[in-house]
Subunit: 234 residues, 2 copies
């Protein structure tokens, strides 16, 4: 099984009300790609937020206004240091600045996370499947930091047509021992893989991953949120 | 730029003293793959640890003996709950059970992390480059959990011929604004991507990633370790 990851190029700047599926299909077509069963389309949340109008003005492009938006988007503040806030979003994700971002946003505005990224993923999947007849998965990604490790990685914040976790419980290793590691966050690994062809500055907001034979599930990205009582680092 | 990720199949069970480069080259050859400049070979640490003899016996295959090995491999214990220990390894990585693992280990033994995974990566790279003439990168991976998010993902614990972090400082977005996100943990994203073709049970301990035009750096995986004074979650 060889995986291929294609950047989806040529997607124009997106505005509120835009329909993303035709833009994704046009990009695929210009690369001579036709969606097939089990393909996974990864879309950065930013163009989804913009299409859904999840963009707010910042009065005077002011840092204070930005901080107020971050607080408004947070359900809990875990840590604060200088300009950095680590917050739990209303969806339950824990990330910097509650996912509110001024990069790749028009001057004087900030982009929020989609209100329901799983639903956003589902909508895009339904539209792409209706147009092509292929049974696919869609993953909505964002760029998160991590404790303990420098640097950012892309993770999944919305999914459709795939399970968030690949559960290996009951699987035995080459020695017949039951695996201690049982749940792989496969959609996070797909999001990270897709980021390798996206870059941050070059405006490649989507990618196609082909060759992974695990789509077809019915999970939600919120399945990835570790319940507070299981979490040793809250 | 399209990425391809190939599993490296047919690598036999590895024992202390085995030379990994010929095994990797035989696997590549059987898949009709010839290493090219900028290829990235990802190797799970487990076969490196075994080849380097970083395997310890557990007296009576006893959980107590396992816990003693975990403590011995730890430089600091961050959290403990039931059987789970979150520890800082002697390298500085923070992970479950200090990276000591009984999966895919012979009965009554546990596999440690390599003593110096960056050096292990370098050794494999030198051998593969000498055999093929290609300028490549090598990444040694392990499977880590994360706070806040369920499921495990593969990350880089040793690298050679590539920088750990892709620094976008000074890069501007489509609106001319300097990016707030500046450091991408690109080798962690490569490790995660490679895990998609590896599985856990099927003994695919290596993968080839082709198409990423960023190798050629001179970093270390320890560059990924966030200094304690910058870390909000120690």
């Amino acid at each position: 099984m060889t995986l291929a990851i294609h950047p989806l190029l040529g997607i124009p700047e997106v505005s509120a009300g835009d329909d993303l599926a035709p833009l994704l299909l046009a990009s695929l077509e210009s690369a001579d790609l036709v969606l097939e069963d089990r393909d996974i389309v990864v879309v950065t949340h930013k163009i989804i937020s913009k299409a859904e109008g999840a963009v707010v003005p910042l009065a005077g492009n002011d840092d204070d206004a930005y901080r107020a938006v971050v607080l408004d988007q947070s359900s809990e503040i875990l840590r604060k240091r200088g300009r950095l806030v680590i917050a739990r979003t209303k969806h339950g994700f824990i990330c910097a600045n509650a996912g509110v971002d001024r990069s790749n946003a028009a001057s004087g505005t900030a982009v929020l996370l989609p209100i329901d990224p799983d639903r956003s993923a589902h909508g895009i999947r339904m539209a792409l499947e209706a147009a092509t007849g292929a049974s696919i998965a869609v993953i909505v990604s964002d760029t998160f930091g991590r404790p303990w490790r420098r640097g950012l990685v892309d993770v999944a914040i919305g999914i459709s047509g795939i399970d968030a976790l690949l559960d290996l419980k009951g699987t035995t290793d080459a020695f017949g021992r039951e695996l201690e590691v049982t749940e792989i966050a496969v959609v996070d690994e797909v999001a990270a893989a897709a980021d390798l062809v996206m870059g941050k500055a070059e405006a490649v907001p989507a990618a196609l991953l082909r060759g992974l034979d695990i789509s077809g599930g019915d999970g939600r990205a919120t399945d990835l949120i570790r319940p507070a009582h299981e979490d040793l680092f809250r």
